[in-house]
Symmetry: C2
């Protein structure tokens, strides 16, 4: 049986990654695009899990369909865990990857190597109207580079070096990224829960 499910995002990179991760996890789903008249959901919560649930609930209510949502971001130790839930609009405008990444590099200019630790965090929410809701998190530990490297992925991938590696996430192939990424971890956990229903 193939279930229809909505992914509550308009970010083409997230759609591609989540679809790939769920398909690779063996989940047979028909991932429906977000309807063009779906409500814009302001991410007003202070946690990734809170915002992921907020988006999944709003879209599940609007469509009446099971909905999954992703809220994710970069948490930099020397920025006290920020950009965090503000990752997508860190430079002031929503979704400007290049400006966001350049701003973090500029803010971290004087921060020495031993204080450049960071984490990628992803919260994956799953809401089935009238039935149940779940939210799980995945993380990837690493540190910030001093300049962008690589052309794969999106967001802060070009400046993030996973622990134990010598390359940025944007230098990894898609499958290599998914195997270790915060999003891969979160959505594989969710896939296991969805598959067991």
């Amino acid at each position: 049986m193939t279930d229809r499910i909505v992914l509550a995002t308009r970010n083409p990179h997230k759609i591609e990654e989540v679809r790939r991760i769920l398909v690779d996890a063996g989940l047979a789903i028909d991932m429906v695009e977000l309807p063009s008249d779906a409500p814009e959901v302001a991410e007003t919560e202070s946690t990734f899990a809170g915002n992921a649930l907020l988006k999944a609930r709003a879209i599940a209510q609007a469509t009446g369909l099971p909905t999954i949502a992703d809220d994710s971001g970069l948490c930099v130790d020397a920025l006290n865990g920020m950009p965090g839930v503000l990752s997508a609009r860190w430079a002031g405008r929503h979704g400007d990857d290049e400006a966001n990444l350049a701003l973090v590099l500029a803010q971290m200019l004087d921060v020495p190597e031993h204080r450049r630790g960071a984490q990628f965090i992803c919260a994956a929410a799953w809401v089935v109207p009238g039935s149940h809701e779940h939210v799980v998190e995945g993380a990837l530990e690493g540190s910030l580079l001093r300049e962008a490297r690589g052309s794969h992925g999106f967001g802060y991938d070009p400046i993030f070096c996973p622990d134990g590696m010598a390359v940025s996430v944007a230098q990894l192939q898609p499958g290599e990224k998914d195997a270790i990424s915060h999003r891969g971890r979160a959505f594989r956990t969710l896939a296991a829960m969805m598959g067991s229903r």
Copy 2:
């Protein structure tokens, strides 16, 4: 007796405020300008106190004179205490008050009223070569406005509303600001220590 002392900053607003606060505190000092060949000190510490001491020590060593230094900034609850020690270069370029303030307002756009709490913090350091060093802190509690107001002061003053007030710090007269400000509190504490020597 009037002691010569160096203030380790090139920020004209800080020079004016610190001089005013110390004079109002009754301290008879001859505040010497930072020599033009004084070293540039990168603020690499993770705390205001650490950076204030870093600057005061470097200038005391370079000049051989007693030195005071200020490290201060805005700590926003919803930004996990940032911009913090990065307040002066939050938008990426050092000392661009207008860009820094506009960036914080943009980052806080979706943050609701009850999560807009913030603090101004000032660390004031005093280093006497070959003798002793001290660092003290002052704080001002408040919340962030949604647009800039007022033309006095500098930095983030136009968007900061002190608790119990209905105006921004930039709408206060200099004496009113000093009476409650983080910098007023820190340097009055320091003045009391300096006067008792």
